[in-house]
């Protein structure tokens, strides 16, 4: 069962959902998997499920369909996607979005991995403190957290004022990629830490001892045994952070600039300023397509990677 949970599901969304579930787990308490054991009971199951599922279909499923439908409803038809991809602006924005998301993912992994590792080895008290430190910001309004970064990073902000007091040159930290990455990494870090922690918690620490007993140095044991075992957590965290970063809007809008717009900002501008709903929808579909493509690629890479989790392990 544990092995089964570690296994990467072929469904790409499932990886992200699993990561998200881990985030919720940390908030709600451990051991609360959705996949609870079988309970052979009968009842108005279908009836109970009908209302939530129908609403999901109407409020989440149908809108996604509308996006697709609307994007090809213009005079260009399906060619709109080719048109978009041929445009320098769109390509630049798409590339910037992917790079920003990748950078944010990287920063979150670098900071999140040691943090999650510390969670697994810390004393219960320290662990409780660290969990609260990571869960509280997760539930704090993104807008407010981004606003705080505006205050800190702006040209006359706290950081630059401190620098100038110290006689150091001021830095350009806002209205550029630097500011966006700082702010987004800050917002996304909990989404990296909690799936990593969930995966690491399942690793038997005696395995590292076993490797050391076999003659491996602590460092080699960690690299050869622990790291491969934490790989599913790394994948879940990366996928989750990457997906969320691709579509993130508030933080880039407040910390970035229109000149450095990300895809989400381009979509927003098309709806609110240009009023071009067709292009906005098409950009949205493009975002989903790129996300899915990358996830499929990632799934394939992880599958052929050596040191993957056991096939068919249950």
């Amino acid at each position: 069962m544990v092995g089964g949970e570690r296994r990467l599901s072929g469904q790409h969304v499932a990886v992200a959902v699993r990561g998200m579930t881990d985030v919720l787990d940390a908030t709600v308490g451990s051991g609360s998997r959705w996949l609870t054991p079988l309970r052979g009971r009968h009842g108005p199951t279908g009836l109970l499920l009908a209302a939530p599922l129908v609403l999901l279909l109407l409020v989440v499923g149908y809108p996604m369909w509308v996006l697709l439908q609307q994007s090809v409803s213009g005079p260009l038809g399906w060619n709109i996607f080719l048109e978009l991809l041929a445009s320098d602006v769109t390509r630049a924005v798409l590339l910037r979005t992917l790079l920003t998301a990748a950078l944010v993912t990287f920063v979150c992994l670098v900071l999140g991995y040691p943090y999650a590792y510390l969670l697994t080895v810390a004393s219960p008290l320290l662990r409780a403190v660290l969990i609260v430190l990571v869960v509280l910001p997760f539930w704090t309004s993104f807008t407010i957290r981004t606003l705080a970064w505006v205050v800190l990073l702006q040209d006359q902000g706290m950081i630059n004022n401190t620098l100038s007091t110290l006689g150091l040159p001021s830095l350009s930290l806002i209205r550029n990629v630097t500011g966006v990455v700082i702010g987004m990494a800050h917002v996304m870090l909990p989404f990296a830490v909690l799936p990593l922690y969930a995966a690491m918690r399942r690793i038997d620490r005696r395995l590292v001892d076993a490797a050391v007993a076999c003659g491996a140095s602590r460092r080699a044991a960690w690299r050869q045994v622990y790291l491969p075992l934490s790989l599913p957590g790394i994948v879940a965290a990366s996928v989750l952070v990457f997906i969320l970063s691709l579509g993130f809007f508030i933080t880039p809008q407040l910390l970035g600039s229109p000149r450095n717009a990300l895809l989400s900002q381009l979509i927003y501008m098309n709806v609110t300023q240009v009023g071009d709903n067709t292009t906005a929808s098409a950009l949205g579909v493009l975002l989903v397509a790129v996300t899915l493509l990358l996830l499929v690629a990632l799934t394939v890479i992880v599958r052929i990677l050596p040191g993957r989790t056991p096939k068919g392990a249950r």
Binding site: G3, D204, A211, C214, G215, A216, S217, R218, G307, P310
Partner: protein, 392 residues
Amino acid sequence: MADQTSLKSRTRWRTATRPQTSHGGVELRLTGLTRSFGSAIAVDNVDLTVKPGEFMTLLGPSGSGKTTTLNMIAGFLAPDSGRIMFDGRDVSSLPANRRNIGMVFQNYALFPTMSVRDNVGYPLRQRRVKASQRRSQVDAALEMVELGHLWDRRPAELSGGQQQRVALARAIVHRPPLLLMDEPLGALDRRLRDSLQSEIAAIHRHVGSTVIYVTHDQDEALCLSDRIAVFRDGRIEQLSSPSDMYEQPETSFVASFLGDSNILVGTFTRDGNLRLPDGTEVRCGPADAGRGDAAVAGPATVVVRPERMRLTELEATPRSGTNCLVGVVIEERYLGATRMVALDVGGDRRIVVRENSGAGQTRPIGSRLRVCWEPADGVWIDRGADRHGESS
């Protein structure tokens, strides 16, 4: 539980003549080894010398300090004080990976991301053994545990017994002079344990490493070991060969931990007998065993194993010189090859007798019987003084 385990015949798998192997083992010496966790002392001033190639079992209940001792020998825990020496060389400050040991863990601790062959080859990889040579050594080790055909499997695809065999192969593939085993059979069912016990014995014969084997299972200890160290509260309560441990327990703790025993408490009389509270005197053991200051009268205890006692009808006259008590059968348990009969011999004292069930008649509850044993089968412990704690 003790009754259940005693069902099994206590086979000693070692052959009388052990072939001397070329590899050999290391001499392990522990002096004054101490380790505490917080205010609890887990290992308390333990001295122990293990001869090269010896199979030494650390036996004791959980929390007795045996696993802590093993972890210090392995190098996973630093002792608070005391020294660990391999062949006279102090390794106390050496990290585990530099001690050149092999270790089998309780839950196998196989690397889930590696195949069986990579698992077994791991110690060789750390020792930079060339790939071709590594391959043949791994295959040889896998042959030894009869798993040569499963080399490409992942640990999760193996049964518990197979996983344990892989763990064993991984621990010996590099021919370590010291092999440590931490309750290696603890997670297996009884049948598998039996077959793996003989396998462990065979491997020990073949490899010739010094073995430190931690268990709480008395049967394992008795059938595998050259010597057994019984741990209690962080100290070694008794250190002796399996047969001595069983035949000549030095404390009532050892007597009751290894096998079933009848513990008779009374006072030591001047003529070397044990006087029970009801006045009966029983003669016991070689009175001149030289155990401490025996001449003083005082509280004393004698242990008699249930299988050394015989039940007879009241009318049969006992052979002179044997000890006899009369009691009422209060319980009879049929165990297949043997039968345990419990008697009330008065004064709230219970005597348990084990007899072959082939003997025919049953022992109905309520019947009065005579229970007899030879004086030589009674073993003095705690004579004249409380000897607890003196043994280590």
